[in-house]
Symmetry: C2
Subunit: 102 residues, 2 copies
């Protein structure tokens, strides 16, 4: 990730329907082109939990909150992202944003 | 953070007792020397939630799970870290570890 301390970090803990993890990971890789096409995008990573088989965390760096909440979520690219990925989640994830303290 | 894709990332969402946020941030900065002294430590960051006033996320990179769970948690440095920070949390946080997929 091309992290910059002034960036906002989107954090989402993702719980994938058990048994669908490998298909999710494959589709997640395909979906990367949609999120990375957006203005203000600064990199993302998907990480898999060592303690819980079907849990992941998605971290995305954005130049600003608006780049994510308006620029991305109102884009055609986000429709593609949703269609590829949202059916894997149960429950549907909570997304929060963070700014760097240390 | 000096992230390396083979590293394990510790993730802890921290809820600080409301009103204690600034004292927590000050003590967190002091505590950095304890965690960074441990073998296998690869960098850490504390981020503050934009949606929830008293919520933070701590991300720490470790060379291995054992560097955190044994090397750090059984150290004198961890006793100092706990004494400085653990009284700020309510509820006490869940800590999980992740490995990189994408």
């Amino acid at each position: 990730m091309l992290e910059n301390k002034s960036m906002v970090m989107e954090v989402a803990v993702l719980n994938v329907i058990p048994g669908r993890e490998l298909a999710f990971e494959k589709d997640f890789k395909l979906a990367g082109k949609y999120i990375s096409s957006i203005e203000g995008y600064g990199g993302h990573t998907l990480k898999k939990c060592l303690e819980k088989q079907n849990q992941y965390v998605l971290l995305v760096h954005w130049e600003s909150l608006e780049n994510h909440e308006i620029g991305y979520r109102q884009s055609e690219a986000y429709v593609e992202w949703k269609n590829l990925l949202h059916h894997y989640y149960d429950p549907f994830p909570t997304v929060e944003h963070y700014e760097t303290v240390v």
